[in-house]
């Protein structure tokens, strides 16, 4: 498959699928526009999977967003070697936490009978893509260092070229396969969001932060 398709056309197709699919799903089945939590079926493995995964992915997403929005600030921050190492190490720790988290979630979905019953094939596709995304990201962080800096210098111009509808893929074409895989799996994840549990990403319970106080009493300790 040509680089032109993967890096200049596929991103737009993914965004189009994401937008049309999300609107369609929200209109057709609004009550399923959530993560379809199975916490009541199994909680312990979920806790050790979902907590490190969500904390890790949130920080990593924020890091990528900062590199995209403020590339010069990030390059300035990384100009001091100590700050560069701190940033890269933090990202690596969050990446490893994500990996363990997704692995736990995968294991839970495959091995727990009650969860397996309520799973569909898209659940496995999502977890598989997330695994590819995280492993390729860790690979990049370790073997193609220092990603935080060269993302700002090389990938931000590419992403910005997509936003202004003038995709410039010269630099991306020459990047190592691991980075290309990381980009393509990220774009694929965007495309499948409307058809999976990942739609909960679009409806975060923000009002949870300032909702009225509620007292929850469990009828069984544990």
């Amino acid at each position: 498959m040509s680089d032109t398709f993967l890096f200049a056309i596929f991103p737009y197709l993914a965004i189009a699928i994401f937008l049309v699919g999300s609107i369609y799903r929200y209109n057709s089945n609004p009550y399923k526009f959530s993560s379809l939590s199975a916490e009541f079926l199994e909680g312990r493995q979920l806790y050790w999977g979902t907590m490190p995964f969500h904390i890790g992915i949130s920080f990593l997403f924020l890091g990528h967003l900062i590199a995209f929005l403020f590339p010069n600030t990030l390059i300035a921050w990384n100009s001091q070697p100590v700050r560069l190492i701190i940033l890269e190490l933090s990202a690596f720790v969050f990446g490893l936490s994500c990996l363990i988290g997704v692995f736990m979630l995968f294991k839970r979905r495959l091995m727990t009978k009650r969860i397996r019953v309520v799973s569909n094939y898209m659940d496995y596709i999502v977890l598989g893509l997330l695994l590819i995304q995280i492993i390729s990201g860790l690979w990049v962080a370790f073997f193609d260092r220092w990603g935080s800096s060269w993302f700002a210098a090389v990938l931000t111009p590419y992403l910005r070229s997509l936003f202004v509808f003038k995709p410039t893929i010269d630099a991306v074409q020459t990047l190592p396969l691991s980075i290309k895989l990381h980009i393509i799996s990220a774009i694929s994840i965007i495309a499948i969001i409307p058809f999976t549990r990942l739609v909960h990403f679009l409806v975060p319970p923000i009002n949870y932060i300032w909702r009225d106080y509620q007292q929850v009493i469990w009828n069984k300790k544990g």
Partner: protein, 286 residues
């Protein structure tokens, strides 16, 4: 209302393929030459890393040039006599594939035809650019004379600071350590995206290095320093530092920081897992 969202994916694909194919944006030969070729070749100003290309269209037929520019390594592998001879003559350094479309290669060849030999050389820097190309061609005059690199400690230290990022480039481009590693006791573990610069001055002379820094032919480096060109003075101090690091290569004993990074990361992850139940102790686990 829902009909608004009924979009034919095939139509979208056709629109995007037509609009965003790289062939839809051909660049003119001069700009292409200056962005893709000028760091290694001149047109009448002598050899850099590769041959002087004035008169090249008379030395080789156009189909041969097309094929060579498209992928010189393929021709060398096939055993093309002329390609192999060039490869042997220029220190067995393969020319990287420029990754441009055939119509763009034709434009470059058409542009090179203007430089049929020493007597017909057009002044590249003064030649008229098409509208919209002036910004791209600025500051791209190749270094053709033998540069003077002052090897004093101040220049070398300045080069070291530019390399690590301790001193920012005038136009705030990223430091070299972002993508390159060089074996030096005072340099942290360098980036691994681009070439390792150990003993680089044994492979490239000073003139070639200055050209590579001033007009990077590598697309990623070219994008990274677009609008953030490294000045001549900065490039000279970088080359001085690289030359010194080549000379001192055998005496440098930097610690192996690659695996230290991995171990620290794993330790950090364990700490992170210990912190989760402490911070979120109220969350129900079963």
């Amino acid at each position: 209302m829902r009909n608004c969202f009924q979009i034919n994916p095939l139509k979208i694909a056709v629109i995007f393929i037509t609009a965003f194919s790289t062939n839809a944006f051909p660049q003119n030969g001069e700009v292409l030459f200056k962005t893709k070729c000028a760091s290694c070749h001149t047109l009448g100003d002598g050899e850099l890393i590769g041959p002087d290309l004035s008169g090249v269209t008379q030395r080789h037929p156009e189909p041969w040039l097309m094929e060579f520019i498209r992928s010189s390594s393929t021709m060398i592998k096939k055993g093309d006599a002329a390609a192999v001879a060039i490869f042997e003559k220029y220190s067995k350094k393969e020319m990287p594939d420029p990754k441009i479309a055939d119509n763009e290669i034709t434009e470059v060849i058409t542009y090179m035809k203007k430089f049929s030999g020493a007597g017909d050389v057009v002044n590249v820097s003064n030649s008229t650019s098409q509208s919209g190309t002036s910004a791209i061609t600025e500051n791209m005059k190749p270094v053709t004379s033998e540069p003077t690199i002052t090897m004093n400690s101040q220049t070398i230290n300045t080069g070291l600071m530019y390399f690590t990022g301790e001193k920012r480039f005038t136009l705030k481009g990223p430091s070299c350590v972002t993508c390159h590693h060089v074996r030096h006791d005072s340099v942290i573990l360098g980036g691994a995206l681009a070439k390792n610069l150990d003993r680089i001055t044994e492979r490239y002379n000073e003139k070639a290095l200055l050209n590579l820094i001033a007009n990077p032919p590598f697309p990623a480096m070219s994008v990274a320093y677009q609008d953030k060109k490294i000045t001549e003075e900065e490039a000279v101090s970088l080359v001085a530092f690289l030359k010194k690091s080549t000379e001192n290569y055998a005496f440098q004993r930097p610690a192996d920081k690659q695996f230290r990074f991995l171990y620290t990361g794993l330790a950090g992850m364990l700490l992170f897992f210990l912190l989760i139940p402490l911070v979120w102790s109220n969350k129900k686990k079963s």
